[in-house]
């Protein structure tokens, strides 16, 4: 069979639709090319297993989970060309969808499961697998009803940076020609640059200008620090996010880092002892310690509150989605809906939730016996997973970042406090809480990945039902692999800090160490920093009052500033390119916009690939960052200036490559 002629995405792919206009995907609803074929599923599973194992190791060692979906989409394009029949666009979506689960499930697991080992609770392999599996399944199940709202109804309102990059890779790769070369070029440049900078000591990755005496004085005396993570990945991310979202993100970061941190220091530096939840006197802390110790918690409160607003806003459409499904079920099948709007049936979702809930109940009952504790635990798992699903979908759709650690932290704290009330404590209690947190955390990160996947499918014309079914398969594979990998690693290594008398090598697993500290603290009746959360909640309410998207702002408050500031540069480039293309108008303007998205997606993809290479290289025994090291690496002013020059060059490349007109010959249809 011939592959259908692939064209570009329609003009209205990234724009809100005027009333009455419908978005027509590349593969129209009336066609049904091969989608969930054996080939697609097999490759998807293989990639999933591979990336899960690698990602688990890298996550435990350096706390960094690989960005899997974009690299897998590139691999899928490459693999597709090896076969006699080239893979269809929709098969590639399935491969990416299954494979993409790896990073999501690992993120959930790596944040929580090692804590069980650090606490010497030694879980059985089937327990680690079950936690990941149950969480992942809940994440997919709860997201499906939200699909119509996040993917269809709000079309054009969310930038979906990661999904944009995947879609551009798939479409451009399939189409070939001039734009494919451009994509490849951008990917190569960003991959090389980001790999070099993040893996080795070529020059500083983060620019903070503290070699300038005035800036250093500001950082010392006022705890006002500006930092800037000069990476191609974040530049591309900011471009795709657009100016408005990146401005909001930055505004949140400015409030946290340049208002709240200095303010807390202003008063706190007069305090002789440590102020809970910090561990040392504020006067002795630097800006980033104050940020992590206090201000981040304010951000967590803001995110959670913004999430509640998000649920309220999407409620109407979610209910509508259910009623469509119920009506379709009554009238026998979903023949009324087009192929590209068909979900897994509502009965399957309900059955899935019931089965998952029973399984979770059985699992928790095995830990703590029957009774109130079991019911409360089950309730917490379901409530938090449901609630965070919307948060994750919104966050991923706007900024491509998921506040996993903050939400897990919130889960640990609330669960500890509630379960303590019901008399659960000690080792069982800690295991119980960490199991809940593990499931919620996995659900959160899987649902974020799923919404990306569904948006890609929406743009290209996949069948949601096929994608959703394959998602469960992906979760199963990833859960088994990550569960076994962690058990395996736990035999040869020790997590967290070296225990006295244990000669095994140490895997740092930074996030899990944090969670372990939290669960220990709160299970021993440590006070909860309610005030910081509440203050964050007020900020979210204020932002809603100002009609500013509260979740984006809250994410900006919570994420480190250095990850937000480069996105702003990308946002500005997108803004000015848009103006330039409007001035140019017509075909020339359209070409500029298309090329801009292609180059930015290439930078995103390249950054992700560079990260994967780096992570892979770190698993080589004897690896050291000093393998590549310039003599000026430690000389801050040179090192940061070079970094700044490199980033400026990337910006210039993004601009020039977009503005440059394609050769007339290549533009022929």
């Amino acid at each position: 069979m011939d592959a259908p002629t692939v064209t570009s995405l329609p003009e209205n792919a990234y724009l809100p639709l005027p009333p009455g206009e419908a978005y027509r995907p590349i593969v129209p609803a009336t066609e049904a090319p091969p989608e969930s074929t054996f080939r697609a599923v097999a490759w998807g599973v293989a990639f999933c297993a591979l990336f899960t194992a690698a990602s688990a190791y890298s996550g435990l060692k350096v706390g960094q989970v690989m960005e899997a979906a974009i690299p897998i989409s590139i691999l899928a394009i490459g693999m597709g060309r090896l076969f006699k029949r080239r893979s269809t666009l929709l098969e590639n979506v399935i491969i990416t969808g299954i494979g993409g689960n790896s990073g999501a499930v690992v993120a959930g697991a790596a944040f929580t499961l090692p804590a069980l080992y650090i606490l010497k609770l030694d879980p059985h392999p089937w327990q680690t697998i079950f936690i990941c599996l149950a969480g992942g399944a809940l994440g997919v199940l709860f997201l499906i009803p939200l699909r119509r709202y996040f993917v269809r109804e709000t079309h054009g309102q969310f930038p979906y940076p990661e999904a944009t990059a995947i879609t551009e890779v798939l479409v451009t790769g399939e189409k070939g020609g001039d734009q494919a070369r451009l994509l490849l070029q951008a990917t190569g440049i960003a991959a090389a640059y980001d790999f070099l900078v993040t893996t080795f000591q070529a020059w500083k990755e983060t620019i903070d200008l503290r070699f300038v005496p005035a800036v250093e004085a500001l950082a010392q005396k006022a705890k006002m620090t500006l930092s800037f993570d000069a990476l191609g990945f974040i530049l591309g991310l900011g471009y795709v996010m657009g100016l408005r979202s990146s401005l909001l993100l930055c505004a949140g970061g400015v409030l946290s880092n340049l208002v709240l941190v200095p303010l807390i220091w202003f008063v706190g530096s007069h305090v002789p002892e440590a102020v809970y939840p910090g561990a040392q006197a504020i006067g002795a802390m630097d800006a980033s310690q104050i940020f992590r110790g206090y201000v981040r918690l304010i951000g967590v409160g803001a995110i959670a509150t913004a999430g509640i607003f998000g649920i309220l806003k999407s409620l109407r459409i979610v209910v509508g989605s259910f009623s469509i499904a119920v009506r379709a079920f009554r009238s026998g099948g979903e023949h009324g809906l087009e192929r590209t709007d068909r979900d897994v049936s509502v009965m399957t979702i309900l059955a899935g939730v019931v089965v998952s809930a029973l399984a979770v109940a059985a699992f928790l009952g095995d830990l703590a016996g029957l009774g109130a504790v079991l019911a409360i635990g089950l309730l917490l798992v379901l409530l938090f997973s449901f609630f965070f699903t919307s948060v994750a979908a919104n966050a991923i759709a706007t900024t491509a970042r998921n506040p996993v650690s903050g939400m897990t932290m919130l889960t640990v704290i609330v669960s500890s406090v509630v379960l303590l009330e019901f008399g659960l404590s000690g080792r069982t209690g800690m295991f119980f809480v960490m199991a809940i947190a593990g499931m919620v955390c996995t659900a959160l990160s899987v649902s974020g990945q799923t919404v990306t996947d569904l948006k890609v499918g929406y743009w290209l014309g996949s069948t949601p039902r096929a994608q959703e079914r394959m998602k469960f398969l992906g979760v199963l594979v990833a859960a088994v692999v990550v569960g076994l990998t962690i058990v395996l690693l736990a035999r040869t290594f020790q997590f967290g800090e070296a225990a006295p008398g244990d000669p095994r090598a140490v895997l740092a697993s930074p996030q899990a160490s944090l969670m372990k500290a939290l669960v220990e603290g709160f299970m021993s009746r440590q006070p909860v920093p309610v005030l910081l959360f509440a203050v964050g909640a007020v900020i979210a309410v204020v932002m809603e009052m100002l009609q500013v998207p509260a979740l984006t702002f809250a994410l900006g408050m919570y994420l480190p500033l250095e990850l937000n500031s480069p996105a702003l540069v990308g946002g500005f480039i997108a803004h000015f390119l848009q103006r330039r293309s409007e001035a140019a108008g017509g075909e020339a303007g359209r070409s500029m916009r298309e090329r801009g998205v292609v180059v930015a997606s290439g930078l995103l993809a390249g950054g992700a690939l560079g990260g994967v290479f780096g992570a892979a290289l770190r698993t080589v025994p004897g690896f050291s960052e000093g393998w590549v090291r310039t003599p000026f690496y430690d000389v801050d002013w040179i090192s940061q200036s070079v970094s700044l020059a490199g980033f400026t060059a990337l910006c210039a490349y993004l601009w020039l490559a977009s503005v440059r007109q394609a050769r007339p010959a290549a533009r022929a249809p």
Binding site: V271, V538, L546
Partner: protein, 694 residues
């Protein structure tokens, strides 16, 4: 800022069809009163009315600006009142109805009030905040806005033709349009004036019985609720709401978007920053400057005053500068056009042919002489009064005068443009810029300390008034152009109005300084907030005064305003909200909510609009009535303090009823206020749209 022709939508009945569109080549605009006709224009009744409204609205505007940092709209209510008086004279007193041009004259004299008050109130109270009142006095505070207003008139006069004739139909002039419509539709004016009057009376009674006679609490506060005292003590988080009809009216006019931004600022101050300080407080043993007592010993409002207010000041300052930055294309354009126009006029391009009545202005020679005379007056005043005895006084006075004239010229053009386009002008931003430029220039010449600060403030006051004056004058020129008034009369009326308004404003400022003060000190523990003067004072103290300014908090506030601007929200409104106490901000939202609900109260757009308009009238009445009673209360207090006898009845002293009122005053205040809001909604809902004109 494109000069696109505006759609001729909604040209009101009574105005020629070409009033709101650019004219075709060769086409002439024929005003409502043609140049050939000369109905009574300047009469005893028009001047008397103008002077009366000028005094009334100057007092009200001064009070509102000192209390809430907001300017109020005076042109529209004065137009309504002028029409109302005319109807009254015609019907009740069986006299002659005022002519259209007489009403324009009333407006020209009266509307100066808001302008002069704005210019003066934004700067002059800073003299008290800085503690310089010993070096100043009534004459100085009176002269500054007067000189500024006169300068504003003379500086804008050469541009009249450009703005009203050459750009005919190309600038929207929102405020001039609304006022003209009221004046033309005089027949309905009688009813409107009646609504305005009784709503002002209602607000006056309401705002007098509550705060002054202590009938109910003037502020509802969660801190006064016994059941919440533990929570308040622990978290320092308090919600409070003033129960003033004037603020309700202001919120109604302001609209929900803007009111929400201001309240958002307050929420951040009182529910985010103050609780954060309260949380750190118990850990701190000693006092943290700028406060003198330990944090743990401070109640929530003391924490606010000591730490959060300076953050708000920093925010106001940064947002003011940002607003100038955002206006920079307009500034450049307006400046360029102003210079070009001056060059053209100097070459004799202005006077062409025989002057019609509707094009007859003060002669150019007189205008030039006027600017020169004002400049000379300013120079003499600086040299002989302010800087007397200073080494190098002549040079400094020359520099100061030059700065005043140059900055006034530039900003007058900008302000006229801004008013014509959007009816808003960034007065506080332009004034702050003036202060900084002046302070830096004078410091470079070695003039610092108290004299330097005073000198800078006086320059700022002149510039501030001049630029607000030009914004108001351009509106009146346009009204006159549409209706056919004589420009010269408008100019003279404005000069007269400036004198009256300067005197009234200065009197109110001095009264308020005496009774309430503008910055906390021993004699005045709870001063009027006066946000802009405090921001100006902070700048001056920083640049010219001795150290000790809470720089750190200012800086944090500046960064905060930038973050808010990044979100696409007005940083100035937000920072104003952060600075003002929450109780003054929360009622704004209630008023705005009433407006929002009325606008959506009916499916029929005309009905909703009529209801909303009725509400607007009531709200305007509330502002004027409430503000006047506020001034009256201050006056009574002043008299009481002077003669040592309390004669205002205190309801809480009543036997029997008194203790009940006292015990329930918090809740009574809330209930009375909510009832007032519901009543406004109910009364406005009954308004019906006007029958379509035949």
């Amino acid at each position: 800022m494109a000069l696109e022709p505006l759609p001729p939508a909604g040209a009101p009945a009574g105005l020629p069809e070409n009033a709101f569109r650019p004219l075709a080549p060769g086409e002439a605009y024929q005003p409502v009163v043609p140049a050939g006709a000369a109905p009574p224009e300047v009469t005893v009744r028009s001047v008397l009315q103008g002077v009366l409204w000028s005094v009334v609205f100057s007092a009200a505007a001064t009070y509102i600006a000192l209390k809430l940092g907001q300017g109020i709209e005076s042109a529209i209510p004065i137009a309504i009142l002028a029409v109302g008086v005319s109807t009254l004279l015609a019907r009740a007193a069986r006299g002659r109805a005022s002519s259209l041009l007489e009403n324009v004259n009333v407006l020209a004299v009266g509307a100066t009030s808001g302008i002069v008050a704005g210019g003066s109130v934004f700067t002059m109270p800073a003299i008290y905040v800085l503690g310089l009142e010993g070096r100043s006095g009534f004459l100085q505070i009176f002269l500054v806005p007067l000189l500024g207003a006169v300068l504003g008139v003379f500086l804008l006069a050469p541009f009249r033709r450009y703005f009203t004739r050459e750009l005919h139909g190309r600038l929207p002039f929102p405020e001039a349009r609304a006022t003209t419509e009221i004046l033309v539709a005089g027949n309905r004016g009688g009813e409107s004036a009646l609504v305005l009057t009784w709503s002002a009376a209602t607000a006056a009674v309401f705002d007098f019985v509550g705060p002054t006679m202590k009938g109910f609490a003037d502020t509802f506060s969660t801190a006064a609720i016994g059941a919440l005292s533990g929570f308040t003590e622990r978290t320092k988080a308090v919600f409070s709401m003033n129960t003033s009809a004037a603020i309700f009216g202001l919120g109604y006019i302001m609209g929900l978007d803007y009111a929400a931004i201001i309240l958002a600022g307050s929420l951040v101050s009182f529910l985010v920053l103050v609780p954060l300080l309260g949380w750190l407080g118990p850990h701190v043993a000693g006092a943290v400057p700028p406060a003198a007592v330990p944090l743990a010993a401070m109640p929530h409002d003391a924490l606010f005053a000591a730490y959060v207010r300076p953050i708000g000041i920093g925010g106001i300052f940064a947002a003011g500068l940002l607003s100038i930055l955002k206006m920079s294309p307009v500034i450049v354009r307006a400046g360029r056009q102003a210079v070009a126009e001056v060059v053209r006029l100097a070459r004799g391009g202005g006077a062409a042919g025989v002057e019609e009545r509707t094009d007859r202005a003060l002669p150019m020679a007189l205008v030039v002489a006027g600017v020169a005379a004002t400049g000379a007056a300013i120079l003499a005043y600086f040299r002989l009064s302010v800087l007397a005895g200073e080494p190098g006084a002549t040079g400094m006075a020359l520099l100061a005068t030059g700065l005043t004239l140059a900055i006034s010229f530039l900003f007058a053009a900008v302000s006229a443009w801004a008013i014509a386009m959007i009816s808003i002008t960034p007065i506080s931003g332009m004034t702050l810029t003036t202060l900084i430029v002046t302070a830096v220039a004078l410091s470079a010449l070695g003039l610092t300390g108290e004299r330097g600060m005073l000198q800078t403030l006086l320059i700022g006051g002149v510039v501030c008034t001049a630029l607000s004056m030009s914004g108001s004058l351009v509106t009146q020129y346009q009204i006159g152009r549409w209706l056919g008034a004589t420009p010269r009369t408008i100019e003279i009326a404005n000069l007269l109005g400036s004198v009256v308004a300067s005197a009234a404003t200065t009197a109110v400022i001095l009264l308020m300084a005496k009774v309430y003060g503008f910055a906390p000190d021993a004699a005045h523990p709870t001063p009027l907030p006066a946000p802009q003067p405090n921001a100006m004072a902070a700048v001056l103290r920083g640049v010219m005064g001795a150290g000790g300014a809470p720089w750190f908090l200012y800086a944090v506030g500046g960064v905060f305003a930038v973050a808010v601007e990044l979100c696409g929200v007005s940083g100035l409104a937000f920072a104003l909200g952060m600075y003002l106490p929450m109780d003054l901000n929360s009622p704004l939202v209630l008023g705005a909510l009433a407006a929002w609900l009325l606008r959506r109260s009916s499916k029929d757009a005309a009905t909703s609009a009529a209801r909303h308009e009725r509400g607007t009238l009531i709200a305007s009445g509330f502002i004027a009535g409430g503000a006047l009673v506020g001034v009256l209360a201050a006056l009574l207090k002043f008299v009481e303090d002077s003669i040592g006898v309390a004669f205002v009845p205190d309801l809480t002293r009543l036997p029997g009823l008194g203790p009940v009122l006292q015990a329930w005053s918090n809740w009574l205040g809330l209930a009375a206020f909510l009832l007032l809001g519901a009543w406004v909604y109910w009364v406005s809902r009954r308004a019906a749209p006007a029958p379509p004109a035949a």
